[in-house]
């Protein structure tokens, strides 16, 4: 019994010691970090994108001996709660790159550095960056973030499955009707093979994948002032009916989890340019890309994605370091190399026309569709209510894909839910 006592005591003192030393450890680290300035850069660029980023950052750190930027990667779904708790408690990193869809909310936090003021005026700070990309960074006349990357959705298709189904692997569909015919041909291969993979899981994923159909058909999503939905129209019904029929009438698609195309089990899918590198290296099939097919009498349209980079208020030193990094990272030469490494799209003409990028596109023909498509990219509404709107919209549409609610009812429900989300958020 004595032994137990002594053992317990020693374990407890060990525990106390360990805890105390952990605590002081960080304090020492903090006091040492007077010079140079070390700042964290939160982002969700993982895998190849993450490696590309750390390469660039290493270069930056070498060039700027007074600054050490440390990139920290979190999974996409987890970065937002991290930022929310950091902002709520005043422990923000110096730098972050986030999804453009979150920007309206980030802008209201009051914690972002005015980049226009820090970089000698908005005009000077933005250069020839495309104006459509700047909407996410401007808030009450101030520039609070800059585009770090942009991208869009185009059509991916599985050339092997096209061949097997007797289709021409070099002739991807150009219209909805062709897409439907191709999808039906491929689904006849059996074994659960889908002609077209459709994203039906509720959330921003569903909305972001479906919006191009709305824009192509002319239905639109919200009105110009972002105060009311416009999708509950004849054109909107045509768009939704098209996909719902692919699933429930043609049986050329399945309402289910996302991922069949990656496994070589679906003929077509809409996805972003960042998948090009991954498919080239890892896909167990030959793939091609094309601009999104459009309906009869419709227009070209796709959805714009990407990330904004921002600096958070902190000490003069960390803010200056963060601004220096943003200026460097958004400069044309660095952006061109960033796009080459990640297959993201250029943010300005000077990036698009740089030799580095032009050479890369020549070597990576699958990117061409995305470059062509980029000028038809629509921006999602940059309003604080957007996440709630998107969620309500996707939840109302989900049952239509499963065939439990009619297309017109689903859109009517979505209309009501979106109006409510707009008024309460």
């Amino acid at each position: 019994m004595k032994l137990t006592h002594r053992r317990l005591a020693s374990i407890l003192s060990l525990a106390v010691f360990a805890t105390v030393s952990l605590g002081t450890g960080s304090a020492i680290a903090a006091s040492k970090a007077v010079k140079p300035v070390t700042i964290q850069f939160w982002n969700y660029w993982d895998g190849g994108n993450g490696q590309a980023l750390s390469k660039l950052v290493t270069e930056f750190n070498k060039k700027n001996p007074g600054i050490i930027v440390k990139p920290v990667t979190f999974p996409w779904g987890d970065l937002l709660p991290k930022l929310q708790s950091a902002i709520a408690s005043g422990s923000t990193p110096a730098l972050a790159a986030t999804d453009i869809a979150w920007m309206a909310n980030m802008n209201q936090s009051g914690k972002l550095v005015d980049l226009g003021a820090a970089l000698g005026g908005i005009k000077k700070a933005t250069g020839d960056i495309y104006p459509s990309l700047l909407t996410y960074g401007l808030y009450k006349g101030k520039l609070q973030s800059l585009p770090a990357s942009t991208n869009n959705l185009s059509l991916f298709y599985n050339k092997d499955l096209f061949r097997k189904a007797g289709l021409n692997p070099n002739k991807p569909p150009k219209t909805w009707a062709e897409m439907r015919a191709d999808a039906m041909a491929i689904s006849k291969l059996g074994n659960g093979t889908q002609g077209m993979e459709i994203y039906v899981q509720p959330g921003e994923g569903l909305t972001w994948q479906f919006q191009p159909y709305l824009w192509q058909s002319g239905a639109g999503f919200l009105n110009k002032t972002n105060t009311a939905p416009t999708f509950n129209s004849a054109a909107g019904k045509t768009a939704l009916q098209f996909l719902v029929d692919l699933i429930n009438v043609d049986h050329a698609a399945t309402a289910g989890q996302w991922g069949a195309f990656d496994k070589g089990q679906a003929g077509m899918r809409i996805d972003g340019s960042w998948m090009v590198g991954g498919y080239r290296d890892n896909a167990p099939f030959e793939f091609g890309t094309a601009m999104l097919p459009i309906p009869d009498g419709g227009v070209h349209a796709t959805n714009m994605g990407g990330e904004q980079i921002m600096a958070f208020k902190g000490t003069t030193a960390t803010q200056a370091a963060a601004v220096t990094f943003i200026q460097w990272f958004t400069s044309a030469p660095i952006q061109a190399r960033w796009d080459v490494a990640t297959n993201f799209m250029p943010i300005s003409d000077s990036v698009a026309n740089s030799n580095v990028l032009l050479k890369h596109i020549a070597e990576e023909p699958a990117l061409k569709a995305f470059i062509d498509q980029q000028k038809y990219a629509y921006a999602r509404p940059a309003i604080a209510a957007y996440p709630a709107v998107s969620d309500a919209f996707s939840k109302a549409l989900e049952p239509a894909f499963y065939g439990t609610v009619s297309v017109s009812d689903a859109l009517a429900n979505a209309d009501a839910a979106v109006r409510k989300a707009l008024s309460t958020n």
């Binding site: 019994m1 004595k2 137990t4 006592h5 993982d46 895998g47 990667t73 991290k82 408690s89």
Partner: protein, 276 residues
Amino acid sequence: MMRKFKKISLGLADHLVLIAISSIVILPFVWMITTSLKPPKLAFAAPYLIPTHFHWQNFVNAWHEAPFSRYYLNSIIVAVLVTFGQVFTSALAAYAFDRFEFPLKKTLWFTLLASMMVPLPLLVIPSFQIIQHLHWADNLVALIIPRCWSAFGILLLRQFIHSIPRDFDDAAKMDGASTLRVIWTVILPLARPAVATLALFAFLFAWNDFLWPLIVLNSPEHFTVPLGIANFSGKYGTRWTLLMAATVSATIPAVIAFLAMQKSLIRGLASGGVNE
């Protein structure tokens, strides 16, 4: 007599049932290992359960991207200290609740029990603001100190201590032992099964915890095992073979550790007789 008893509990049918259930339980592990050894292009190709490729490069890459030994160390530090912390604070509180009368006892007891029903995600943001005030953000301390108490632990130990006759305390007190000493030298050894159960529960909770470490930690060198794994699946595509190599790296040592410790664990849980 013993022989007859054995005859009843042993049987071929039992074995068959056990093998059937075990093979279902073990299925994910087999799949995990096989996939972790495939070249990336074959991640979704048969065979799924018997490794035919040995693409060790996945492990090299996974370890290159994520320092698992570091994650392990962090996870172990956190889980061990949380376990000791919970046992320590629960033992003291449980003893007080069982052996003493004091003002507000019933109210306090009820409040502590009710706190077991608080949904944890609710506390994330307010708790983190407190951590921030204490300057514990991005520090393992923030994973340890707030978790060093447990309403369940107090409940469990109090029930067990209640079954230990007060004569034991009194005998020790006659010898001049202080209350703390009585708890350490008399009560805790007698309550070993309950302590072992609490320790196991606390350790596993800390070991598996995901949301709270995610919110609190920023620097990869402080990450715990679950956070390290989560970073392999992302918005821009999941790299399955790497993810599986990471998962295998994160799982196998824990299983081996259990294999080594399970005898003493069972003995700890059992001795003294759970059924007083």
